[in-house]
Symmetry: C3
């Protein structure tokens, strides 16, 4: 893919975001992309290839936004991103002029996405690549439900340290050491009670299976080595970790497992 890109656009700067997505895990890829995109230079062209349906009727697409262009399969991979950016145009990648001469049925990353991205980087207008598309494939959103006493979520993914990143967030530390909560994912769909305005971290308890983890800390080192803790990760999500250890192994956890943030009957008015 990089060879194809540099053959077409020799001045392209290439950044490897990650090669560590689990095979076919579109949801993990969508989350990692969401966590990282805003740190990339403004005109970045993102090429993403988690593509179990390659060669089938799922469309190759490009999504132009106010924060760069996203190129890849229309399988939900951009389903989280498009809830956070302003989408300006979506096209189905159809114009053979901007593909490799021979397109395989099993590696569109090399044969379609990379050359299309390289031509975009060379200044080709997105309209040249194919016709407009008016609906994107979406992922079902991860669990995020609020009551007055708790936020219910799930383990969204497990990183290479074994940290458990949950769907509960985006949580931000305030100046007064309280946490404010602005849902990472579209909240309207999932809750109809008002979210707490501020959360007192020392009053919280995180529940995973029968385990209660409390309170919420700022850093991994807030607890002794090998102890379990809850904290807010660098993307603003509630995370369960083991200081200098592997939480997934220690807690026998898996993606999709329910996690609850108990708010402990505090007053959030």
């Amino acid at each position: 893919m990089k060879g194809v890109i540099l053959s077409i656009c020799p001045t392209a700067r290439l950044i490897d975001l990650t090669h560590a997505i689990q095979p076919q895990n579109v949801r993990q890829a969508a989350y990692v992309l969401l966590s990282a995109y805003s740190y990339m230079p403004p005109q970045t062209i993102f090429v993403a290839v988690i593509d179990p349906g390659v060669g089938t009727s799922r469309k190759p697409i490009a999504v132009q936004t106010n924060h760069g262009i996203f190129v890849g399969p229309d399988n939900g991979l951009f389903g989280y991103i498009v809830k956070h950016v302003e989408v300006r145009k979506v096209v189905a990648l159809q114009n053979p002029k901007y593909m490799l001469p021979a397109v395989s049925a099993t590696f569109h990353g090399r044969d379609i996405f990379s050359p299309m991205a390289a031509h975009l980087a060379q200044g080709v207008a997105i309209d040249q690549l194919g016709s407009a598309l008016h609906r994107l494939e979406m992922l079902s959103l991860p669990r995020f439900e609020a009551t007055s006493e708790a936020i219910h979520g799930e383990i969204l993914y497990i990183d290479h340290f074994g940290n458990l990143i949950t769907s509960i967030g985006r949580l931000t530390w305030n100046a007064d050491d309280m946490l404010s909560l602005v849902p990472f994912f579209d909240p309207q769909l999932q809750t109809d009670i008002p979210l707490p305005k501020a959360i007192r971290p020392e009053s919280c308890a995180v529940q995973l299976a029968n385990r209660i983890i409390e309170p919420i800390y700022l850093t991994y080192s807030a607890v002794p080595k090998n102890e379990v803790l809850a904290l807010i990760n660098s993307a603003g999500q509630l995370e369960i970790a083991v200081n200098q250890g592997n939480a997934a192994q220690a807690l026998n956890a898996h993606v999709g497992q329910p996690v609850t943030l108990h708010l402990n009957h505090e007053d959030y008015s």
Copy 2:
């Protein structure tokens, strides 16, 4: 290695092709290089370091071709490539002027291949690097034998998804949904009967141990999730896969295991 290259040639563009070759697996490396080289920009200098014999009498070499220059150990690593490109010159890398001042016996990638490649990129002529070499180390070719009823091959390598890439290929889909076969590896050595002119994929059956897999599909998603299938991969090789799963685990397969493509008594005249 990258530091050495950029110290000598600050304008070099570096592409990481792969760091996932199994330790010492020269044959896997030779195949991956063969699958990828033609997608790199035309004047690319390839540096490859799968080098179990580092420091012994195996020679460090550079191979100038019509599609870039290949730099690495003369241990067969370029043995597949040179059957697909026009070789113009081969030299043994001997000139200490273009090596690092201290050459270790265990890391020629850093001490010889990288600086030689960087000097080539800076415009040094290949003749300056050492004297001409007239014979390259070759790999024994993977099994590829034809009868009128079947093509016999083997598992060439297993990728990180667990897909089984076989030595049977290069197979290309024709406009009429037939497959044409042009051997990836030198056919004269291994078969003296004419190869079929066209193969009807729906008449084929692939055999791995006692398992019969049929027909040959275009895409992974042609079968339900977790089902085994045969298809043509993006390099044109016959591949055995599990849709969104791991074929190597599911079929308990290993590199070198025989694979047969039964042509089913069709008429290929």
Copy 3:
């Protein structure tokens, strides 16, 4: 991190040194950095993020030396390097002007180290980043003790081939096939007897647990496939390996395990 760097310094050349450090293994990282830094271009800015104490009182620092600038946490990561280079200035990274606007407590690599490094690359003077620091966190040095009969060390780290790199070195092959020893790590602290001036490799025996490995070879291929051997690695350290195999598995070895180089009653006058 790369996105942050290129957003600030679009012309930066990025080299990935390694992503394969064991989680939280500061000592392994310090050794890998030490082995590699001198091969990077002279003005390189090194960003290193093995940072189990992220967000605690450990300081983010930049260390200006005669061989580039090192940016990362003050947790010992640069504790080996600074024994090999001339340290010119150390600053604590405090100036919010050169950090990201929002600094998380769990990812200083992205929020502090990367933007600071990018501003350095853009020409910002190190003094602008924070105030001078007069003491660096050091690692306890790996074991290295000499008697007239032996050098005692330990397994420093295990690489991805399973090779065992020891703390015994730096050993260099002389023109007369003898080895000379200049301690990689500060020797005064650990031994008060003179080190041998030259070591005859064929008189040496390496001991790991009850296993005796002799002599010291130049290359992996000096022994048949799958046999254990001792050799000097490309960083000058004594290494125990298995030719085309995995020594860590074969010998059931672990980091920190004692290793002895018996000098066999030779005369080193």
